[in-house]
Amino acid sequence: MSTYLEFAVLGLGLATVYVGLGTGLLLVYRATGIVNFAQGAMAMWGVYVYATLQESGLLVLPIGSIQVADERGMDVWPAVAVGLVNAAVLGVLVHYLVFRPVRRAPDLAQVVVSIGLMITLQALAVIRFGPNHVPVESLFENDYVEVFGATLSQREMVMAAVMVVLALGVWAYLRFTYSGAATRAASENERGAVLMGFNPDRLALVAMVMGALVSTAGVLMASTLTGLSPGNYTLMVVPALAVLLIARLESIGAVVLGGLALGIFQSELSLIAAKPWWPVWAKSGLDQVVPFIVIMLILFVLGKRLPARGSLQSVRLPDVALPRFRPVPIAVMLAIAVTLILVLDDTYRFGFTTSLIISLLALSYVVITGYLGQISLAQAAFAGVAGFALAKVTASWAMPFPLAIVLCALVATLFGVAVALPAFRIRGVQLAIVTVAAALAIERFVFGNYSLTPPSGNPIGKPELFGISFAVREGRDLARPEFSFMVLAVVTLVIVMFVRIARGDTGRAFLAVRANERAAASAGIDVRRTKLMGFGVSAFIAGVAGTLLGYSHGQLSADSFSLVVGLQVFAFAYLGGITSFGGALVAGMLGPLGLIYTAMHAWFEMGDYYHLISGLALILTAILNPSGIAGETKHQIAWVRKRAGRSRSTGAPDVEEPPAEVAQERKAEHV
């Protein structure tokens, strides 16, 4: 029994993070209506500043650094103070530069912006503080107390107590101060609050700063136990989102209780999972499976009763122009692709082939988000499911390759449909939360699970048809053209399938559901079934991409399909234009390990900056130009044709950058 008590206390360390991030998330949500996926990443920054100051006396800023104390390092408490000041400044910057410009934008743009911020901060942390795990100096003396025969760690208890006091401070702010009351009022009814003379903008600023401080405090205390790396606390936002949902996005008290309960529960679970009777296959990834289950349960139980936030107005999703088959542009594009495959050297050919595959992954986002209007962040996980299935079927059953692709993509479809089930009751940001949690759970529980996917590797059989090998490598040849042509053929087929669906009855139904679910139902559309079909189709496309990635790597690991990869592809899909397959092609060229990436890497040695640029570009796109590069180009072509005396746009999606003045114009109508 005493062991359980000891583990409960150890769980308070995790609980401190959950309460800190949960409180910050809640404050920001109440004040701005934005669910900040970057809350963990923002909190991480101040802690890094603290850790470096304390270690070496160096104050690291986003650009440049200042030696503020001697090289033996600063004392703990002044360093904490400087770290918190940095966190507050970051909160101010994020408010003005990132969230304020999208305060009236649709859910999608807000989710995109916060994900862009998360990618940016994580990339910046890698650049400024290095990719390695660093230890963080403790704030509190560690002592043990004996209670009921259990030896309890005092540090965790002190941390949790401090965190609860901070959360109570936030509660008191919301409950007892004039601005706190106004924040609550504004989150119920922003129009009303404006008419009453409140300035929601200033309230949002205060909430951003306060949220950043509380979250940073939580991560700071907890990181003294675990150390700090650019990734670990960034993704802590997922369990914190579970806590936010437990609190129904309303109550600080529930955040505190939920955070404590979740932290303690996970700690106890790790104790129980060590028992001999606990099945081996269920040991891995429990830390991410639990929040996912919590999120699913809450959404099923509370469902529609989660409060929706009334806002002043919203901007439409980017328009969809139905794709058309035009022989000439298609022939030109195919000719360019074939030429590239033949002309490029191994490195670039591999980059280009990867780009083609990433295009498919991006296309799956076009289906689910661009056409159906649902935010799914789990597409890379669906691709991964297909990839690992491919390892199984080619290794154990020696299944021939085109059949294996279809079968494995169908397995991914099953997962997609399963994740879609909660989409019946929820939409928008809440769906983004579910899918992000699902992606992380699948990543940790399935891909990272050694009893399902052995650490010795998951080799994938070589694709072969009619005696011709389409393997990517053979002998010293590392990127065979045969493989690239096979990928090109598969990608073309899938795009043709997509275009036929998009132009057909089904695509029209997707758009109807996206536009207006109620009206769609009155026009005879089964909204649930349509959403299931959308998730199924998009997971199928992602699955095909996953199998192709599998063939191209020849070997899979959990990292091949991580959540971060998925978010990056989502970022580029949005950047390219989330509503067209042209956008997906742009996304493929820009995407991780693709052609542009390869070039940047080779010319500038800019691997780290690539992530930073992708994050920044995503934020800028969401703010300035929600229809993406392909969409923007289409606008310009339409405009030029109108000038030339032709009425209707027939321009093919292109990959040029839009001229700055047009982007400016659109910004003006957006703000």
Binding site: R500, D505, G507, A512, N516, A520, A521, S522, A523, D526
Partner: protein, 251 residues
């Protein structure tokens, strides 16, 4: 009951403690236009929502002898029960024709397979476009139309596909008197082509001139039903309208 057309018996809708529709009995025969009028907040739109499945209701709802009470909205539509909305609720980024096609084609696994491997077959929407005189704008984006045209597209969308009974929720609101007259003509001619129509509107002259029968709702209760001529002289109807409608907010 084996009557054709729409029949409701004891249809009741409660919002918390408020009874928005109190045991409504209503009939709409095929080929007839039935009006439903009442002051603001009388529960007219609630009745449409209840009949079409957009709000929870008790009581019986039958179309051509088949009970619809347990069906979700899209299945009631498949049975031939269609509706329009007060605020048009079109799919703005689709063209007029596409708006109608959404309603005319059945969507499911089969449509998906057909989209990928075959060619789309299914109802043309020309008859619906012609019925409301919108052939000229079929390729225009719905959101680029005038309000009056948008309302007509709403009607046409309800007519596309199977339509045995059409519920029009304030189709004339926001139209000028000429457009309103024209709408009345179109409503009559749609009814002549077969379906029954339940017309809800504030425009008394439209309702009284176009309808074969009129129901009057007040505070969720049916206080009158009869011919337009009877409605004009009925004391209860006059009281409901000349009373103090200002007290009520529209639903």
């Amino acid at each position: 009951m084996s009557e054709s057309g729409l029949v409701t018996r004891g249809l009741t809708v409660r919002y918390g403690g408020v009874v928005a529709n109190d045991s409504i009995d209503l009939e709409v025969r095929p080929g007839t236009v039935v009006g439903l009028i009442g002051p603001n907040g009388a529960g007219k739109t609630t009745l449409v929502d209840a009949v079409t499945g957009f709000t929870q209701a008790e009581g019986a709802i039958e179309l051509n002898g088949r009970s619809l009470a347990a069906m979700p909205p899209h299945r009631r539509k498949a049975q031939g029960l269609t509706r329009t909305w007060q605020s048009a609720e079109l799919f703005g980024e689709l063209t007029v024709e596409e708006n109608l096609l959404v309603s005319a084609r059945e969507i499911g696994f089969r449509s998906l397979v057909r989209d990928v491997f075959g060619t789309s077959r299914g109802g043309s929407v020309d008859h619906a476009l012609e019925a409301v005189g919108l052939m000229a704008v079929r390729d225009v984006l719905a959101r680029d139309l005038t309000l009056g045209q948008q309302k007509l597209v709403g009607v046409a969308r309800a007519l596309a596909g199977r339509c045995d009974l059409l519920l029009l929720d304030e189709p004339a609101a926001g139209l000028d008197s000429n457009e309103s007259l024209e709408l009345g003509e179109q409503v009559r001619s749609i009814a002549r082509s077969g379906p029954g129509i339940l017309l809800i509107d504030h425009d008394m002259s439209l309702v009284l001139n176009v309808c074969d029968l009129v129901y009057v709702l007040e505070f969720g209760k049916m206080i009158f039903h009869g011919t337009p001529a009877q409605a004009r002289v009925d004391a209860a109807v006059a009281a409901a309208y000349l009373g103090s409608p200002m007290e009520e907010a529209d639903a």
